[in-house]
């Protein structure tokens, strides 16, 4: 089974807990997993992420939850100089324009 097939299968097989999907879209799972994985590697303290998440939720209380999560994670990485705003912007636009075809 190719990686793509495996992913599609895993998307269709998303578990429902009390009828609710844990993640409503694959990107949410990736965004969640990245933040947790980086903490486990001692990249930063969980509290640092949490404070930014609180701020983002406060800034846009009606936003999709994982959109706030993603913004908080981006801010954390920029604040830590783990990546630069330019890198992030250009890589994002490459994916948007489909100039990259990496599959995660």
């Amino acid at each position: 089974m190719s990686e793509v097939d495996r992913r599609v299968a895993s998307v269709e097989g998303l578990p429902r807990k009390n009828g609710e999907l844990v993640f409503e879209a694959p990107w949410q799972g990736r965004a969640f997993g990245m933040a947790v994985a980086l903490t486990e590697r001692d990249g930063y303290e969980w509290e640092e992420f949490r404070q930014r998440l609180i701020a983002e939720i406060g800034r846009g209380p009606d936003d999709e939850y994982y959109a706030s999560w993603l913004r908080a994670f981006e801010k954390l990485l920029l604040d830590h100089d783990s990546l630069t705003a330019d890198e992030l912007a250009s890589r994002t636009s490459e994916f948007r324009a489909m100039e990259r075809d990496e599959v995660f």
Partner: protein, 205 residues
């Protein structure tokens, strides 16, 4: 997502593109591997869920000594059942009694006892629940279908990054002699958040 490449060549949404860019850059810089992310996502999707908390509650219901340990030293008591903490956090187990009902919330964001309940439901993360359950818990619980007699006091526990709470619900009448598996089945996620009480199915009585 871009998994569809070649099949449905649609550009990713803004949120998808940003997520892809982050993973791409973090992997490129050697800060993370995609396998590490896979492992966490899979764990939370498949292995960690309310069933873990339910097992601990059911065990506490049938074994008073275990219940005492679960309340006094939750981490060690959960480890006895093979449940080990995933995040660095302290877990506090709060017991419902005939006089007191406990309910958990995270007023600031979405802190939640992941290790025993998995990821929080959408409503737990919603602004109305987070703000209102502290101010008017009885009304919110009523709206969620839980009627509590006036003489039952309600305690609201506000979670944080350091302390997460788990509600130990009361064992309902009519479950005498039940095996642990059968008991665990009525300990739903909502009963361990404190917005519901375990219900005995009609067919069982």
């Amino acid at each position: 997502m871009t998994d569809d490449h070649g099949h449905h060549p649609q550009p990713p949404s803004d949120l998808e593109a940003r997520t892809l860019a982050l993973e791409s850059l973090l992997v490129e810089k050697g800060l993370l591997t995609s396998e590490a992310i896979d492992r966490i996502v899979t764990t939370f999707e498949r292995d960690i869920g309310p069933l873990l908390g339910a097992r601990a509650v059911a065990h506490a219901w049938v074994d008073p000594a275990y219940k005492a340990r679960l309340l006094s030293a939750p981490k060690a008591a959960l480890a006895e059942l093979g449940i080990t903490e995933h995040q660095v956090e302290e877990l506090v187990v709060v017991e419902n009694t005939p006089a007191t009902h406990n309910v958990i919330v995270c007023t600031l964001c979405s802190c939640y006892p992941w290790a025993v309940l998995g990821l929080p439901p959408t409503w737990y993360k919603s602004a109305p629940y987070r703000s209102r359950v502290v101010i008017e818990p009885r009304v919110v619980l009523h709206e969620m279908g839980l009627e509590l007699p006036d003489e039952v006091a309600i305690r609201v526990w506000d979670s944080s990054a350091d302390i997460r709470y788990l509600v130990l619900p009361e064992r309902p009448a009519g479950t005498e002699g039940w095996a642990e598996d059968r008991l665990a089945a009525i300990v739903t996620r909502d009963t361990m958040i404190g917005v519901a009480r375990p219900a005995v199915p009609d067919t069982a009585t």
